[in-house]
């Protein structure tokens, strides 16, 4: 009951002209950022963090959340009209959205995407309001041992699930992120590590410059390297969703919303996996399997509900454990720290209303994407016609000025450039970026809690593998790592297929 009261108070507090104005422009900007191939939600949130750091915390966080929700939704537009997902989260959307556009039903596809995104975000919001306080309560029992395993689990599972080809590349990306986090003053004895005499590195590598580089500059290089995309259609048909379509796909939407939320809760996995997981399950359970990939409404609904539900889902561990569920949530954690909010298990004690304020903010963002998504469907088509040669230099100027504006150090611009080039090379080599970011965020948590735990147990490692939560994490990590080794994976597959064929041979005809 108290939760509902906090939520109501949060909503009332946000119904001001300033807040509504901020919701409107930040959501539209988010949709535009999401629509434009090359501009991602992470980049939008990172750049906007640098532009809003002087605003009051509540307004700044509201703007960042609207940008996040708007960008994940906006990516569906380019997926439908260009066959190029605006953000990686919308890759599954293009499978059915683009064929619908080619059939002359682009407006219909956009309408389905809009309602699906709104439903997905709403399901995620309900889960956030219910699960976050419970998880924060459980996390209060976490000690150093559990936090160490949690950090390691986040990196390993993120590496495993986000890797495009070989899972080992995801784990390598996570380790590289952890290595980056080792630079600068460590948190237990204040000893300076790996700075090579560069005093600017004493405080470590800033997350915002690294993120702007890895997701902003790297994207610019990628966009300029790749071939230009062509707009499939300048005309859109009916853009208002029909109730019958929403009703027909209700179970797909609910199931995908729940899947998306739970994928969001898994550290560092993100919206794209939420969309793919929902899409795969929808395909498996659909009565019209053959239509998937050639304009299935179920497929489009699953992809868009799944990716949008990840947004509130990713905020659950971000707020209660300070472990991001996705790359944009990682930037949000950094932004929360900038604005004096300390995410983690103590959040429900120190700032009990904050989680509900976030819920209220997400509700406003959901309403905004629905309204602007439908009303601005036609005007927003012009955005897709902006040539990349005209857009990318402006984005790069913001990539330079953004990190500089926070600390007034040109060194952070250099960090941005370095991470941009590394990020571009890693992308070309099919290394996922999410584990790298998660490694940078969780490096300090992992390092401090491992050494603190060992000090508490006087060097004895048994508490790391005997406490119930710790041992669960340890087993999950071990299984995930084993599954990422090709030879082990092949042996398991051979074992399973071997057993199946044996069983088939033994069965009487």
């Amino acid at each position: 009951m108290q939760g509902l009261q906090y939520l109501f108070e949060g909503l009332i507090g946000l119904i001001t002209l300033t807040s509504l104005f901020n919701v409107a422009w930040a959501t539209v900007l988010g949709i535009i950022v999401g629509m434009l191939p090359g501009l991602t939600a992470t980049m939008g949130v990172a750049l906007l963090t640098t532009l809003t750091y002087k605003l009051p915390p509540e307004q700044a966080i509201l703007i960042l959340l609207c940008m996040y929700v708007g960008a994940i939704y906006g990516g569906s537009r380019s997926a439908i009209l260009l066959n190029i997902p605006g953000t990686p989260a919308n890759a599954a959307t293009s499978l059915d959205g683009y064929p619908l556009a080619r059939q002359g039903r682009a407006g219909y596809a956009m309408a389905i995407a809009t309602t699906s995104s709104a439903i997905g975000t709403f399901i995620g919001i309900v889960c956030l309001a219910v699960i976050a306080p419970l998880l924060a309560n459980v996390a209060l029992d976490f000690g150093s041992y559990e936090f160490f395993w949690l950090a390691l689990f986040g990196i390993v599972i993120s590496g495993q699930l986000t890797a495009q080809g070989e899972p080992i590349k995801g784990i390598i990306a996570g380790i590289l992120g952890l290595m980056v986090a080792m630079v600068g003053m460590e948190g237990i004895h204040a000893h300076v590590r790996f700075t090579f005499g560069i005093s600017e590195l004493n405080g470590g590598i800033g997350l915002i410059p690294a993120m702007v580089g890895a997701f902003g500059f790297a994207e610019i290089l990628t966009v300029m390297f790749d071939k230009k995309a062509e707009l499939v259609s300048n005309k859109v048909d009916r853009i208002f969703p029909r109730f019958i379509d929403i009703w027909r796909t209700k179970w797909t939407a609910v199931r995908s919303g729940v899947i998306g939320t739970f994928v969001g809760v898994i550290p560092g996995v993100g919206e794209d996996i939420g969309a793919w997981a929902s899409y795969a399950l929808a395909k498996r359970t659909s009565r019209e399997k053959a239509q998937f990939g050639s304009g299935s409404i179920d497929g489009l609904t699953a992809a868009e509900t799944g990716n949008s539900a990840v947004v509130p889902g990713a905020l659950i561990p971000a707020l209660t454990l300070a472990v991001p569920g996705s790359a944009p949530a990682a930037v949000l954690i950094a932004a929360l720290f900038i604005h004096g909010v300390r995410p983690g298990p103590m959040i429900m004690i120190e700032q009990p209303t904050f989680v509900y304020e976030v819920v209220a903010m997400l509700l406003l963002a959901t309403i905004a994407i629905t309204i602007f998504g439908i009303l601005m469907a036609r005007p927003l088509l012009f955005v897709l016609r902006i040539p990349r040669e005209r857009l990318m230099p402006i984005v790069f100027v913001l990539c330079v000025i953004g990190p500089y504006a926070i600390t007034l150090r040109m060194f952070d611009v250099v960090v941005m450039l370095v991470f941009g080039i590394i990020g571009f090379l890693m992308r070309r080599m099919q290394y996922p970026m999410a584990p790298l970011v998660l490694g940078i965020i969780l490096g300090d948590l992992l390092d401090k809690n491992l050494r603190r735990g060992l000090t508490l147990s006087d060097g004895d490692i048994s508490p790391f593998i005997t406490r119930p939560i710790s041992v669960t994490f340890a087993i999950l990590i071990l299984l995930t790592i084993l599954a990422s080794i090709p030879i082990v994976r092949r042996s398991i597959t051979r074992l399973v297929t071997g057993n199946r064929s044996d069983r088939a041979a033994a069965e009487p005809n």
């Binding site: 532009l51 002087k54 070989e166 080992i168 590349k169 784990i171 390598i172 380790i175 590289l176 952890l178 290595m179 080792m182 460590e186 237990i188 004895h189 000893h191 590590r193 790996f194 500059f217 610019i220 290089l221 300029m224 390297f225 790749d226 071939k227 040539p387 040669e389 005209r390 990318m392 230099p393 402006i394 790069f396 100027v397 913001l398 330079v400 000025i401 500089y404 504006a405 007034l408 040109m410 611009v413 250099v414 450039l417 080039i421 080599m429 099919q430 992992l446 390092d447 491992l450 050494r451 603190r452 060992l454 000090t455 006087d458 060097g459 080794i485 090709p486």
Partner: protein, 177 residues
């Protein structure tokens, strides 16, 4: 084997080659991390607990990365990464993309590292935006429209430079470089 199959195979081999090279680089990095962690000050003078030495996690990360790089190397070698093959850089499409990348990289490095700081921020930004647009649009436009492209690039460059400098200086109170 069709021409497409051959291209696919050479692409796969290119990634396998890159993986072999990356695995070697990562292995060297892992050894450096391990050595850095091992030789790091153990702060005995401050009588800290031996299990909390600052080099502990870097050493562990070095070992983990070394193992991963070996796994990557073995996988890439099995995929043909040690044989001599690869996607030709002389293919017109690859050459055009590489050219665009090189130009983009050059412009984006010169702007923050050379232009910013050596002249007013708005001017540096205006020059960067103008040159970027003009350089990339030059080939797409017919010679008759080059002047228009240059004029609009100049206009956009000046606008972006002035607006960015004004907004950051006056609204965000940032002392621009």
């Amino acid at each position: 084997m069709t021409r497409d199959d051959q291209t696919d195979r050479s692409r796969t081999l290119t990634m396998a080659h890159a993986d072999v090279f990356t695995a070697v680089v990562l292995f060297v990095l892992a050894l450096a991390m391990l050595w850095g962690g091992y030789t790091m000050d153990r702060l005995e003078i401050r009588r800290i607990h031996p299990a909390s030495i600052p080099g502990l996690v870097p050493m562990a990360l070095g070992v983990a990365l070394a193992i991963c790089s070996v796994i990557l190397f073995v996988g890439a070698a099995k995929a043909g990464g040690l044989t001599r093959a690869g996607l030709s850089l002389r293919a017109p499409e690859t050459r055009a993309a590489t050219g665009r990348l090189a130009l983009c990289l050059a412009l984006t490095l010169v702007y923050p590292l050379v232009l910013v700081g050596s002249m007013p921020f708005w001017l540096a930004t205006a020059i960067f935006v103008t040159v970027f647009i003009a350089a990339f649009e030059w080939h797409h436009r017919s010679p008759a429209r080059h002047l228009i492209a240059l004029a609009t690039a100049l206009l956009q460059g000046a606008l972006v430079g002035l607006v960015t400098a004004y907004v950051f200086q006056e609204f965000f109170l940032v002392r621009l470089p």
